[in-house]
């Protein structure tokens, strides 16, 4: 699903006789484009930062809204399915952080690369996997994006390298992907995400060092949602200025709840990398509404008041919606229609995810090796020999 097709799949809006008609109010009634002030980014080792204003067209606004709302509803549906025990194991939800995924994708090209850690459902979506394939992977069915073999933390797509379970391990991988971009001379960048918890991992500093030495086109992004599992950033990090932790790597600190701020900062970072200046670090200040995972209620180490305050004052979806409404860029009915369509999309996806069969046992041992003749795999006892094909 490309960005443009999100818009083309706009739901039916209004119209006479219930016919399929696009918006009955003409586009001339809405403001087609507006300029918004965005928060200034703190910078580290940079002369200047991203611009203080962002342009937003009506189409873009509706796109970003749709994407963020889809991720929101998809994550809440996953919450529901988990509580019904239809999803099991690990499930790390992204609601609250939608502006990060949506803003980053808006700023990079489909030909660029992205890798993240385990809170990955949002990025799996923005990188092109359908809600249906994501939910079916969470429920462990054969229609899942990894055929049910990966689960929540191991979803992949072209130019999207997961979904990685080991905290921090994705960062050297991302630097390596950037090395491949540089090696192949294709002008692409790699967006490499990690959290405030992972920010203290040694392998990050090893990656910063090599990326800077070799000027790899890598955008390191710290999604700082203030808690590494149950440990607040103040209790884990001697320095919580994550955008400065790269030392010799320039950094910017960004309001991660504002999709426009994220977009402008990512554009700025991508330009920096593409112009051969080497890596850059972005710290996105964001927040997760859920606990660390579904086994964490998320209130033993933070207060309900804090969560509620962020929801009411800084929710990324509400903020975008209010901006568009107050600038007459869209109507409340339009947003409602989008919500209805998304609800249906997510419901249909959940329906598929709960009814699709589990992967067949015959495929248990497949996908051990690529481009390999079939091999035999020992089963649980010597009399069970299983077959593995590439």
């Amino acid at each position: 699903m490309t960005y443009s097709s999100f818009f083309q799949n706009q739901p039916v809006v209004g119209g006479v006789n219930g016919a399929r008609v696009v918006v009955s109010r003409s586009f001339a009634d809405f403001t087609p484009q507006a300029s918004f002030d965005i928060k200034k980014c703190d910078v580290h080792r940079l002369e200047e930062g991203p611009p203080l204003k962002a342009e937003l067209t009506r189409e873009q606004g509706l796109q970003y809204y749709r994407i963020m709302q889809t991720v929101r509803r998809m994550e809440l549906k996953a919450d529901q399915l988990y509580k019904q025990k239809i999803i099991r194991g690990f499930c790390h939800l992204y609601d609250g952080q939608e502006a990060c995924a949506a803003g980053i994708e808006a700023a990079i090209n489909p030909s660029d690369h992205l890798i993240t850690a385990y809170r990955a459902h949002g990025y799996t979506y923005t990188r092109g996997v359908s809600v249906k394939e994501i939910l079916a992977e969470l429920t462990g069915r054969k229609g899942g994006v990894a055929k049910g073999k990966g689960g929540s933390m191991h979803m992949y797509a072209p130019r999207f390298y997961g979904g990685n379970g080991i905290v921090g391990a994705q960062v050297p991988l991302g630097a390596g992907i950037a090395l491949a971009c540089q090696y192949q001379g294709n002008d692409q960048v790699c967006v490499t995400l990690y959290g405030d918890g992972a920010a203290n991992q040694g392998q990050l500093f090893e990656s910063f060092n090599m990326a800077a030495l070799w000027k790899l086109p890598c955008i390191f992004i710290c999604e700082n949602n203030q808690y590494g599992m149950g440990t607040s950033m103040e209790r884990a990090s001697a320095s919580t200025d994550y955008y400065k932790r790269g030392d010799f790597v320039p950094g910017i600190r960004v309001d991660g709840m504002d999709v426009l701020c994220v977009r402008e900062a990512t554009k700025f970072a991508a330009d920096h990398c593409r112009s051969g200046k080497g890596p850059i670090i972005m710290e996105l200040q964001t927040y997760r509404y859920h606990g660390h995972s579904m086994s964490d209620p998320g209130v033993s180490y933070r207060t309900r008041e804090e969560i509620q305050e962020v929801r009411s004052k800084s929710d990324p979806i509400s903020m975008l919606k209010e901006r568009m409404l107050s600038n007459n860029m869209a109507s409340i009915e339009e947003f409602k229609e989008i919500d209805v369509a998304i609800r249906k999309e997510v419901e249909d996806a959940a329906q598929f995810a709960t009814s699709d069969p589990e992967p067949p046992l015959e495929e248990l041992c497949n996908h051990i090796f690529h481009n390999n003749p079939p091999l035999e795999v020992r089963g649980t006892n010597p009399w069970v020999t299983l077959k593995s094909v590439s």
Partner: protein, 360 residues
């Protein structure tokens, strides 16, 4: 091989001229002597030339010509883009190599020794080995991790561990352990051309050892298939299964035992994973006796796996005695020469174990 060895020793000629004299060889006179180090170098050189996605990274691989000179001359020939010196950050550069493999390149990641790979083992196992499976075939990782493995000489405990059993344990990896120069060249070329993560266990003490390389093996397309063992010496009385440096020990032991009328069949595993159990079984069904020889520790080792597999297969019924394992001593490697020498299998240990197994 044994007869030509005796011949040239008698005449007092050195190895090179002995081979050049036609009457010693039925094989083509264009066979040359190549050290394992040079064979590895040739393999990398040829693969770097053949496919521009192939590159080498690791500590000291470029301007130092390689800590053990295995990559000598490659940086001069291919430059900074293809031969990359890294900082001393194994976890970081191994991860970078895996990421590069995911994004379309074909890296050769050198660990100065496999002891240091422990710092990076998460990237080898969790990022490289498991990814093809976790992604249900969407994301492959064509990478080679290579470097010297196992005991060296006088480098003590932290620098002498054998990782064959550790890596051999994991699905998603291929684990290769060459012995001769031909093994080294053919298997490294196969490893580089393989679209999967391959752990390539070299041996520092073998780097300088010269071997005859056939004309066929000098071709740029010469590869040895991964997963096939080689019978280095035929014999009827007992099977010796081994890998890497200990192939030499077994062949030397076999030469001594032959004088006493005991003919050993020596199998060079060449690959640890996937293990060529069939070759071992075929041999055991002929000889009825099996001794495994390895440098690594006994517990949960390569020999232990071979024992288990033999018991589970048809060859068990052909055994006239339990399988014997000859292994490194179950201790961290000591430094003093006398202690180190007695921590790893010696030729006399192989001979002794063969005789015990044959009950002679």
């Amino acid at each position: 091989m044994a007869s030509s060895l005796r011949c040239f020793l008698r005449t007092g000629k050195n190895a090179v001229s002995a081979l050049q004299r036609r009457e010693f060889h039925r094989t083509l006179p264009v066979a040359v002597q190549v050290t394992v180090r040079d064979a590895l170098n040739q393999a990398m050189d040829e693969e770097l030339e053949r496919d521009e996605r192939v590159f080498l990274l690791g500590e000291e691989v470029a301007q130092y010509d390689g800590a053990y000179k295995v990559s000598r001359g490659l940086w001069k020939k291919y430059g900074d883009k293809r031969i990359i010196d890294t900082p001393i950050t194994e976890m970081g550069f191994a991860g970078i190599a895996v990421g590069a493999a995911m994004a379309g390149l074909r890296p050769i990641c050198e660990f100065m020794t496999f002891n240091f790979s422990m710092q990076a083992i998460d990237q080898v196992i969790n990022s490289a080995a498991k990814t093809y499976y976790m992604s249900a075939g969407q994301q492959s990782v064509p990478i080679v991790f290579r470097g010297p493995n196992g005991a060296s000489a006088g480098v003590a405990a932290q620098h002498s561990q054998c990782f064959a059993a550790w890596y051999g344990h994991c699905p998603g990896l291929k684990v290769v352990s060459p012995w001769s120069a031909e093994d080294a060249k053919g298997l490294l070329k196969s490893a580089i051309r393989d679209d999967n993560p391959v752990v390539f266990l070299e041996n520092e003490l073998m780097y300088g050892v010269p071997f005859e390389m056939s004309e066929e093996s000098q071709s740029k397309d010469f590869t040895i298939p991964i997963g096939k063992a080689k019978v280095e010496r035929q014999g009827n009385h007992i099977t010796l299964v081994t890998h890497s440096r200990y192939v030499s020990h077994c062949l030397d032991a076999a030469a001594v035992l032959a004088k006493e009328g005991i003919e050993c069949e020596v199998i060079n595993l060449r690959t640890i994973r996937p293990l060529d159990v069939e070759s071992i079984e075929t041999s055991v069904m002929k000889t009825n006796h099996l001794v495994t020889v390895e440098g690594g520790w006994p517990q949960y080792g390569v020999g232990a796996e071979i024992c288990a597999r033999i018991m589970e297969g048809p060859a068990f019924n052909y055994l006239d005695a339990p399988v014997t394992r000859v292994t490194g001593v179950d201790i961290p490697m000591p430094y003093a020469k006398i202690l180190e020498d007695n921590s790893v299998p010696q030729i006399k240990d192989v001979i002794f174990s063969v005789k015990k197994t044959l009950n002679v």
